[in-house]
Symmetry: C2
Subunit: 241 residues, 2 copies
DNA sequence: GCCGATTTGTCCGTATGTATC
DNA sequence: CGATACATACGGACAAATCGG
């Protein structure tokens, strides 16, 4: 349930677009109209539209209107958009998923690690390796590092279940920003040991740093995906230089 | 040169962050302070800060302040962020780049193509294949489709030079939104023919649809990258459901 | 624990500029 | 030219979160 006004307007329009009540290439009602429909100020509808534009749902055109550019994607792919967990992703695609935790330890971040992960040297972290399977095929190897200070009392059982559930529901911590880098890399021995690589010899690798609501880095993760289970979707708007 | 006030404020703060005048993990001056510094309204500074947050430079915290979470990346990687052309990317990385155009034709989009590209069935498009080389190594195979109606008079020579220059400078068309999907795929015969694949047998594939300032789809591109020349960077903030 | 000062979040109304038709 | 539509900017009001005394 949206708590703010602009958010509920955003959602209402978003649903209408997804249901093609507002069709691809058509124009939204004008701001003036939307103000009356939702009984709010101009800033508020503009805020909602800005969110939709950031999502790639609409595009504003000066003096003309706001055009819908959303097209439903027919591919039954595993999309890793926004900040979404493996579990959510799998559930949405109706696959049976399991997680194994072959490695779970506490380590201290050294200089080399610090440079790679962004954690300060000397930080105590949980170092976890997790194998994610879909329909019993080991598809993803996750290498997680969580700050012990910010994510305390992590256990192997929690890692097997859902770390994000624990972080959000039990610790009440909010995940706000996530920086990601995607590359394609050759497999390592660890990959070969843990994953069902079929005859693939390369992996899609997503490394991410995640910040909590205090703006503190609490997670560094390297997620190594078998190529056939990997699809990343993205929308970019004009960037300010 | 920024034309709007919020944009110049955005840029000023952005530079200060990049120069570490505002350090990683430190707080920006309060909105109240920034209002006085830049002599503007609260909305205007908030707009600038919102842009910086969208870029992953800062993170706002209710009741506390705005924390800098930008870290300079030391990797000399080829980053394909925002909407950036191959040429810009190569230039930024100080490599010698060349483009060959082994295929250049006009075709009509059929039903199958339409579903894949988003162009309407029957649209007349330029179908172009381009091979991009860095320091004389063929690294990227681009398969472009441009609407002939929206991008008229395209020639092989322009394709060899820079299509984006032509679109922006000659046609005066503005590129606004770009939707992208990234996957990892096995190489095809065409890849093998055109690219220096070394001993790689897979490619990073970026497919993108690009919309102009009228909200019309004018380009569909599939960009096939050799894995060692591929790095994608991204920042995600909490998404509204 | 309370209270007040500070800081960010949401929302409103209005004015002016600029692009489109 | 005027009407319509989006873009930018200002100022003010109240809410909510944080922090220090």
């Amino acid at each position: 349930m949206p708590k703010s006004k602009f958010e509920s307007i955003y959602k209402d329009i978003k649903v209408k677009i997804e249901n093609e009540e507002y069709e691809y290439q058509s124009f939204l009602p004008s701001e003036h109209t939307l103000i009356e429909v939702y009984d709010c100020s101009r800033n508020t509808v503009r805020r909602a539209i800005a969110e939709l534009a950031a999502l790639g749902y609409v595009q504003s055109m000066h003096g003309k209107g706001v055009r819908v550019i959303y097209q439903p994607l027919d591919q039954a792919n595993f999309t890793i958009g926004g900040i979404e967990s493996f579990k959510e992703s799998a559930a949405r695609n109706k696959k049976k998923f399991t997680t194994d935790v072959p490695f779970f330890e506490e380590i201290v971040v050294d200089k080399r690690m610090s440079k790679k992960t962004g954690f300060e040297e000397g930080t105590l972290v949980y170092y976890i390796q997790r194998v994610r399977s879909l329909d019993d095929i080991a598809m993803i190897l996750d290498i997680n590092m969580f700050s012990k200070e910010l994510v305390p009392n992590l256990t192997k059982a929690i890692a097997k279940r859902s770390i994000y559930d624990y972080i959000e529901k039990t610790l009440g911590m909010q995940i706000v920003t996530s920086k990601r880098t995607m590359t394609v890399e050759r497999i390592t021995e660890a990959d070969e040991n843990y994953l069902d690589m079929d005859d693939y010899d390369m992996l899609a690798v997503v490394t991410s740093q995640t910040y909590n609501s205090d703006g503190l880095l609490f997670e560094y993760t390297q997620s190594r995906h078998r190529p056939d289970f990997f699809c990343f979707h993205d929308t970019a708007s004009r960037k300010l230089s």
